[in-house]
Symmetry: C2
Subunit: 360 residues, 2 copies
Amino acid sequence: MADTPIRFGIIGCAEIARRVSRAILLAPNATLSAIASRSLDKAANFAKANGFPPEAKVYGSYESLLDDPDVDAVYLPLPTSLHLKWAVLTAQKKKHLLLEKPVALNVAEFDQILKACDENGVQIMDGTMWVHHPRTQKMKEFLDDKERFGQLKTVHSCFTYFAPPEFFQNNIRVKPDLDTLGALGDAGWYGIRSILWAADYELPKTVTALRGPVVNEEGLILDCGASLHWEDGKTATFNCSFLSNLTMNITAIGTFGTLHLTDFIIPYQEHEASYTTSSKARYNELGTGWVPIPSEHNVNVDLPQEACMVREFAGLVGNIKKNGAQPDNKWPTISRKTQLVVDAVNASVEKGFEPVEIVS
Amino acid sequence: MADTPIRFGIIGCAEIARRVSRAILLAPNATLSAIASRSLDKAANFAKANGFPPEAKVYGSYESLLDDPDVDAVYLPLPTSLHLKWAVLTAQKKKHLLLEKPVALNVAEFDQILKACDENGVQIMDGTMWVHHPRTQKMKEFLDDKERFGQLKTVHSCFTYFAPPEFFQNNIRVKPDLDTLGALGDAGWYGIRSILWAADYELPKTVTALRGPVVNEEGLILDCGASLHWEDGKTATFNCSFLSNLTMNITAIGTFGTLHLTDFIIPYQEHEASYTTSSKARYNELGTGWVPIPSEHNVNVDLPQEACMVREFAGLVGNIKKNGAQPDNKWPTISRKTQLVVDAVNASVEKGFEPVEIVS
């Protein structure tokens, strides 16, 4: 007997909700149950355009979706400044919570969300998709290999995209009443997460913003970078921007190996994804070439990364719902660490690029 | 009638001199004329092992090579601390100078070398090979393309290699009496040069060393990084290390384009080399892939990059020798800028990672 799928409600018709709707439809253990917008028409149009099943409910207010007993879990892609209010309310309504990133405006807010989830026994996970891609697991096996990769020494990560002029007028990411984190919370979130991922989620000791961040008239970051430094000597740098061509690289260098990829957040193609590894590379005898040349690895994708994310989340929810398990702590811990580093970069910018110690 | 080739003498039998000897043999306008070592046997063995023509002279002292009227130009791969003395003497002996990198221990020393070259009318060029690779010119065309690449926003470059234990005992690069720059002057030189290259050799306004450099017992840098910042908002980061797997990447991101390669100093193979460009990349409609996917470009290599370097240098020397031209200022200016940034990184480390202004 197949398990009953976890029933998802979506609050807000954000662009990203289209992809997550499709992911919920694709995930074997999830189903689309409801959509809410402040406009009933908008919600109805969204449901129609995104393949919601006919029995899915359409709400003209977020509250009414949260009161629906047929909703197990809520996907929340609202602007960041609204996360605290709606995430806490979702938890209080005993709905499990798939929360879009950045999870909050700062870690103090996120702690309030975590507290509400904890008190109400609901699962929380953030919407960072790429960590659920099957490629990510393969790459992690390489990083964990003491023979092939050795000890991690440095990571560089970047995520930039060139936003069109209308973005700077209208997008929620550059409006201080909707989001105070700008490119740091949006693009920077991924760079930071990738660095923490490569470092086995060990928090750095200090975070230092790089000089030269670009801010808009309202003080929101449009482009910035930071360097991270660990107690054991590991280092990392990242940059993030709304002002440069779409680029998303991770280079993780260990004593013996190098991991490299250039499409870590959204793979170039959905059905397969690749990455490159190099191990114990050296020059040939005369120094005119490499031995060995780095190798490319391809990973076939049965389920798109966002559907893998939904499947993972729905699995945890199912385990609570059906088996009486406790909410899993792994994903919220990772979200919180990511937010801590986001906050530290912001603090370092405010302190004139002084290093900021991370206190977890 | 073919021009008479420029006659090279080599001072010191360093490992890198093997490759440059071969390059001189391969370059159409150069010939190997003499080799000097402090040991005559060593010089003789080097000449024999590296295909010197039978008429090439073998010297047991550097001075005697410099006094040889049949030597037009000298390739100087001595340890960095010896550059000042021997480069100045080479110039005073009216020999043109191909000087291994880093060009000096600091820019004050390099200015003395430049002064000697200037006073004696000799050409100087440093031994950075990759800038002479035909691929480099192709990549520069992309960076210069305002339509495809736009305005440069940020560059990240790294060059690391994992040195074996004996390196840390014996190599000239980690001996403070032979070289005070360690990984910064060796591996870091390339990262800095690549950044300056991408920035059209415009010097940054400030250079800030990243926290966490690794130094040996004698205080020499084994691993470090820095961020660079330009007046117009451009930024760059690099790291360099003797402690991590062989890795050499450049990622240069402009408003509209991205240039990327992972073997910039020594291409994986000698006969061809590749790089990747992406232009106006965006997501597909649902955000599940890229349009367009970055494209890979292959460049066939007729002459190895080090032979292209020798050809370029010998061409400048020939122009002086045969046409009475003045020494060309392009290459020494680039060397000096590179050294200025090396010095600034060092100064920033010494000042506790404070930003250092570049004064050219």
